[in-house]
């Protein structure tokens, strides 16, 4: 980044005396209609510290952040920035006070370019009202390059895939000269390959005395990155610990409020032994937009993990199987017969279901109720006399999903946009829980889902597998893959390696190493 900025940063770091907290909140209360999102929360952020914020889905993390960002006004409580008591008048106000946020649900303008988005609301101007386009593009390029983010300033955001949008969100926050940097689940679909970009950036800014609030459900990240953690439960602060004094099991316990029995992952491995099971799906040299000669075989009871870096084309492969991308070349056989899904409609009718990567774009009608969203995917099941819709069955079905996945909402009539991120993801999974699934495709299935619910979802997936369904998982969370999968394939630029058995993989580092090897293979 340009030197003058760095000096600005240092200047700001100097301003705040070590003793005084950058942010201190006491007794913050926030209600949404019937829901109490924050019930008297205390929170403190010191300069230069990386402060982890943990809690179940719906615990109130994002709400607290919205209050900090001036998006929501607290109903009660005291809020100080650098010792000065403030009542934020709005986002502009909190920006002006040096708070910049990476939001959980993407907040980019798809019709504008990367540079435009980075400087949205803080454009550089020439002659009063005219934009200084060149300056913006140059500065954008500097920021992106400085933090090693692989994006072109002139690229329109509508062409970016989810992971890249997430990186752009981060770049946007970094570009703002800020005192406080808030990251709300920035890694939900970043892979090991991009983690260094993010972690490097976080460490750098904290070195400059900037306070960082880091929300994540990936406890390993928390342990690695943060100095201090605060845990929320049902809108209340249930304690802050120095990261060094705590451990993952302890954190899990205080998050969930009870001890969580770890899945025995060997079960996943063990299922691959024994007599050969019928093949459900096989791709041979399949070509489609973004997929270049993919080969893949999935047998009943298998849980195959797709391992790849961002942009590798995992999403594309899944979408191709799902009929969302026209197959240009190659052979697909599905449950014995050759199969070329003409449309998603087609694939779903044949029992192929996809949990998409970007829940807001592909998963949900945000303005509709939980019930409507779940029903949307199960209309054939609730059909009566060809034309009519069995509303009661649909409601009880949705109610069942809500309880099974512990979706935190007053009722199934709540609009999905009013749910917390993780609870929204649960709804997306809930759409496909029951009803004629033969092949389940999961793209980042547990992005933003808390540890407790995550375990439940794993159980459900493994249960499906045991019932003889086939499952394909794309996840950037290697721990997740290791817990779920019976075998792995490695993906790079739309091509697929030969599978390896779960039993042959030791741990996350091992998995990452093998991916790197595979990518070298491909590039040769």
């Amino acid at each position: 980044m340009c030197p003058n900025n760095r000096s600005e940063f240092q200047a700001m770091g100097a301003q705040v005396t070590e003793s005084e907290p950058l942010i201190s909140m006491t007794g913050i209360v926030k209600r949404f209609g019937t829901v109490v999102a924050l019930r008297g929360v205390d929170f403190e952020l010191m300069p230069g510290e990386v402060h982890g914020l943990l809690g179940q889905n719906g615990a109130g993390k994002t709400t607290l952040i919205k209050v900090l960002a001036g998006i929501e006004a607290a109903d009660a409580g005291e809020f100080r920035i650098a010792g000065e008591r403030v009542h934020l008048s709005g986002v502009a106000d909190s920006k002006a006070r040096g708070i910049s946020v990476v939001h959980q649900s993407l907040s980019l303008v798809p019709t504008l370019t990367v540079a435009d988005n980075i400087f949205l609301g803080s454009e550089s101007v020439r002659a009063g009202h005219l934009l200084d386009r060149r300056r913006m593009e140059v500065r954008a390029a500097e920021v992106l390059e400085h933090y090693g983010i692989p994006l072109r300033p002139s690229q329109p955001v509508s062409t970016l895939t989810f992971a890249y949008r997430q990186l752009l969100e981060i770049a946007k926050a970094l570009a703002a000269d800020s005192r406080v940097l808030i990251l709300d689940e920035p890694t939900s679909s970043l892979t090991k390959a991009e983690e260094p970009i993010l972690f490097g950036a976080v460490r750098e800014v904290s070195r400059r005395g900037i306070g960082v609030i880091y929300v994540s459900h990936r406890l390993s990240e928390i342990m690695e990155l943060t100095d201090r953690v605060t845990v929320f439960r049902d809108g209340a602060n249930v304690g802050s610990f120095g990261t060094s004094q705590t451990s993952i099991p302890e954190l899990v316990e205080s998050i969930v409020g009870s001890r969580l029995d770890k899945l025995d992952t060997n079960r996943a491995g063990s299922r691959t032994e024994g007599d050969p099971k019928p093949e459900v799906l096989s791709l041979r040299d399949v070509h489609s937009p973004g997929v270049h000669g993919a080969c893949l075989a999935v047998a009943a009871g298998d849980v195959v993990g797709l391992v790849g870096t961002t942009g590798s084309g995992r999403t594309e492969i899944l979408e191709t199987i799902f009929g969302a991308r026209p197959i240009r070349r190659g052979f697909v056989t599905y449950r014995g017969e050759s199969f070329a899904p003409r449309s998603i409609h087609d694939a779903i009718a044949k029992g192929i279901k996809l949990v998409p990567e970007d829940r807001h774009r592909w998963g949900l009608v945000l303005g509709h109720s939980i019930e409507r969203n779940i029903a949307m995917a199960n209309l054939p099941r609730w059909r009566r006399w060809r034309f009519l819709f069995r509303g009661d069955e649909s409601r009880s079905g949705a109610e069942g999903v809500r309880q099974r996945l512990k979706i935190k909402a007053p009722s199934i009539d709540v609009r999905v946009e009013d749910l917390s991120g993780g609870n929204q993801q649960k709804v997306v999974i809930g759409k496909w829980l029951d009803g004629g699934t033969e092949l389940l495709l999961l793209d980042e299935p547990t992005a933003g889902v808390d540890v407790g619910a995550r375990a439940d979802i794993y159980r459900i997936i493994l249960q499906l597998a045991d019932e003889g369904k086939a499952v394909v998982v794309s996840s950037s969370d290697y721990d997740e893959l290791l817990q779920l999968c019976s075998s792995f394939v490695f993906i790079a630029d739309g091509r697929v390696s030969s599978p390896i058995d779960r039993a042959d993989v030791v741990d996350e580092r091992d998995l990452h190493r093998r991916l790197e090897e595979a990518r070298k293979e491909f590039s040769r």
Binding site: V36, I344, H368, I407, D413, V414
Partner: protein, 324 residues
């Protein structure tokens, strides 16, 4: 624990407010509706007479019928500006059919509805397959249909000489209720069932709410949208039939500009132009409110140049006050 929160907190909010928030029912419509009715019935005794109410129903019939179809289209986040011209074209076709081919009321009606459906299908295909913004498509078919109508009639009216046709679609009454009203009731009933109790309704809402999510849930969004356009066209065809029957003749320039009234009724009824939202009875109230305004202001003998102003004002107020 989550459940607890729900149980604990639910009572704290008024059930009415919750009902409004959770279901997007345009409560305000009831209110402005009630206000209007009471205001007018206080102002003039004639207003609440049965005959006058039937009067209003009869006058709003056309708009209500077309509003049902247009609502379908708008719920899928598309728009249909062509209903006015479609009405004229299909009405004229029915009339010509009776004059030059077979003078049979039923066949004529079928012709009209078929023609309307065809226009709708054209709209659908162009908007959905070729992906032209439906605003443009339907603006195009609007002037095309009108042009064709003027051509085939040579701009002069087409007479209808078929007693049965007249009475089935306009003059006949059943337990004192005029045919157009009965047709409206029938259409509304079906639309209601389809939208709120039918599979197709769910598909419409999902498609309009988030077309990608709908597709990824296995809904054939193209089919859904196309069908919506066809329904809209067909209902415009029915409206055309009624117009031809009412006038014992139909002019090629009939129905020009009616699309705005129809869309106004739909939006006033709480249907969102961005799709995925709206209720049938909202639309009914919407078109009734407009009808009542027109009727009441005339009964009060308000000066027409002021009527315009008042009407615009009241519509805005109705909604504004609703949002409180």
């Amino acid at each position: 624990m989550t459940a607890q929160i729900a149980r604990v907190d639910l009572p704290t909010e008024g059930t009415v407010r919750r009902w409004i928030r959770e279901t997007d029912q345009p409560l305000f419509l009831y209110v402005s509706f009630a206000v209007l009715i009471s205001a007018f019935s206080l102002a003039t005794p004639i207003f609440l007479t049965a005959s006058n109410l039937l009067n209003i129903a009869n006058q709003t019939a056309l708009v209500t019928i077309m509003a049902m179809g247009v609502a379908f289209v708008i719920i899928t986040a598309e728009i249909d500006l062509s209903v006015g011209s479609t009405l004229a074209l299909s009405g004229v076709c029915a009339a010509l059919f009776m004059r030059d081919a077979i003078n049979n009321w039923l066949l004529a009606a079928i012709v009209a509805i078929a023609v309307g459906a065809m226009v709708g299908a054209v709209n659908g295909v162009l908007a959905v397959r070729i992906r032209i913004p439906s605003f443009l498509v339907t603006l195009g078919t609007l002037s095309m249909a009108r042009g064709i109508t003027l051509l085939v009639t040579g701009t002069s009216p087409v007479l209808v000489n078929n007693e049965t046709f007249w009475s089935v679609f306009a003059e006949g009454t059943f337990i004192g209720i005029a045919a157009p009203i009965l047709w409206t009731v029938l259409v509304v009933a079906i639309a209601w069932a389809v939208l709120h109790y039918g599979i197709f309704g769910r598909q419409l809402y999902a498609t309009g709410g988030n077309i990608d999510a709908a597709r990824f849930s296995g809904i054939n969004t193209r089919r859904v949208k196309t069908v919506a356009f066809i329904v809209s066209g067909a209902l415009a065809g029915l409206a055309g039939t009624i117009v031809a029957a009412r006038g014992h003749a139909i002019r090629p320039d009939v129905g020009a500009g009616v699309e705005l009234d129809v869309i106004a009724a739909v939006i006033l009824g709480g249907v969102s132009l961005f799709g995925g939202k709206g209720k049938i009875y909202g639309v009914i109230l919407g078109s009734l409110i407009i009808g009542i305004l027109n009727n009441g202001l005339v009964l009060l003998g308000v000066d027409p140049s002021i009527q315009l102003t008042i009407k615009g004002f009241l519509i805005v107020v109705a909604v504004a006050f609703a949002k409180r």
